[in-house]
Amino acid sequence: MTNSGRNRLIDRAFSVWGVVSTFIGIALLLMFIGIILYDGLGRINWAFFTSLPSRFPEKAGIYTSMVGTLWIVVLTLILSLPLGISAAIYLEEYAKKGRFSNILEINISNLAGVPSIIYGLLGLQIFSRTMGLGGNLLAGAFTLALLVLPIIIVATREAIRAVPGSIKDASYALGATKWQTIWLQVLPGASGGIMTGVILALSRAVGEAAPLIVVGALAYVPFVPASPMDQYSVLPIQIFNWISRPQAGFSTNAAAGILILLAITLAMNLVAVYYRSRYQRKSN
């Protein structure tokens, strides 16, 4: 066989293999969603959203864990957004390019890939113990803020870098200070990209259970948290709790909870995709 003939064969074989692998992934995903829908869809009704947890599966709902999730997401956003954007601005606009900023850059990218349980352990030591927050919402939000910070920083830096240098030049040439240029030109120009990154980061935070369990989130919370200093549960932990119960009714509840969680993260991702496409269209 000629060399090019062999290459073509390898080419074909690989493309077939690629299609098969893709198909396996999608098929498994569809199967999973199908099973969950079959198990849980019938369980979703208004009472499911408004009921407290209960010993009886038919009476139990996700009210407290939903509100807990909402609290956690809002607090995480408040803690991580200003910090992440400031860090990105510093790294892009102020830090001198050199060894030090390279090391920082590599580290931040790597941090985005650290297993979330590690952040939980870090949070347990720093926030729960040293700062004495114990297992309250604030400890959880601080921990998740650490977790999503690298994602926000990386996304914001990319968005800032995408703002044309000619726009910054124009601003400087008119006598604007660096800060004015960042505030009036760079951040507005980067806002679409920043928004996309932030939403993706938060949708990650919504799905996390492990680090929150480590920093003391509860599995059974019969009340709605009223302040950041209160105890709480979140949706993924509620689901985890239901799955680990022996009664069949609870696994139906878990499936329903998973559907809600999926819907939330899917909606957030759609919003992010929408912003990204609008932002790309604007910058063209």
Binding site: I167, A170, S171, Y172, A173, L174, G175, A176, L184, G189
Partner: protein
């Protein structure tokens, strides 16, 4: 010491030049982009900087309002006096300098804002709030660049909706709105069609009674048409500078002649 009057205020100067460059060398890291340049620019004149690509024209023009400050490793030796003041002195306020020395770029670069906001930007960042003052200045600047009649009904529209030539005139208006005494232009028409180019040349000709212009251009006809003085650069050196008429008809150096005749670079 003499006193020159500029825009109503009295400025103490050592000389009557708008710009005086003394023994200027500039470096990007170890690379010397300009080598011992001496050049003076008189007020209310147009000076053209010409020379082959990479000879240092942009480097020089960006030195004049310190736009190279943001480039890591960029370094300046020698002196650059603007209205008699050494602009690389530690005490100089760079933002103030840039209000006096405005700049127009090669590609039109309006802000992604309305036409009005583009022209008003330079005033607003100075903290000027008075609406009537800003409006007056915007109208005046747009009239100066002969854009007013074309945009007066669309001031709220996004500047990206304008044609390339209109955008460039808007960028000039934006520069004039902060009332600089010197306007730097780095190949301001190289991205424009002939008609837009002619309009901008006409503008410069009209406005030079009020402003000092330094213009980089690759277009020899343009340099000949609009400039009073021409400076020819080659590989970081200032080869020759003189009255445009003389440089174009009777250059003192062979290299200049070759370049201008288009057999060079």
């Amino acid at each position: 010491m003499t006193e020159t009057k500029q825009h109503g205020e009295t400025v103490q100067t050592e000389s009557r030049s708008a710009i005086e460059i003394r023994n200027l060398s500039t470096y990007y890291g170890d690379f010397r982009a300009l080598d011992d340049i001496n050049l003076t620019v008189d007020p209310m004149t147009v000076t053209a900087l010409i020379g082959p690509s990479g000879c240092g024209k942009s480097t020089l023009i960006r030195v004049l309002n310190r736009m190279n400050d943001y480039i890591d490793g960029f370094r300046v030796e020698g002196q650059v006096l603007v209205d008699g003041q050494d602009i690389y002195d530690k005490k100089v306020n760079v933002e103030q300098l840039r209000k006096r020395v405005g700049m127009v770029f090669q590609k039109p670069n309006p802000f992604p804002k309305s036409i009005f906001e583009n022209v008003a930007y330079g005033l607003k960042i100075q903290g000027i709030k008075e609406k009537s003052f800003i409006e007056e200045r915007v109208v005046k600047s747009l009239q100066q660049v002969v854009l007013w009649d074309e945009v007066k009904d669309n001031l709220k529209k996004n500047a990206f909706g304008l044609s390339g030539g209109q955008q460039q005139r808007l960028c000039i208006a934006r520069t004039l709105a902060v009332e600089p005494s010197i306007v730097l232009m780095d190949e301001p028409t190289s991205a424009l069609d002939p008609i837009s180019t002619a309009k901008i040349e006409e503008l410069v000709f009209e406005l030079k009674s009020q402003y000092t212009f330094v213009i980089v251009t690759h277009n020899m006809q343009q340099a000949a048409r609009i400039s009073d003085k021409t400076a020819f650069f080659y590989m970081g050196n200032l080869i020759e500078v003189g009255d445009t008429q003389q440089i174009f008809t009777n250059p003192g150096v062979k290299r200049t002649e070759y370049y201008i005749r288009g057999q060079f670079g």
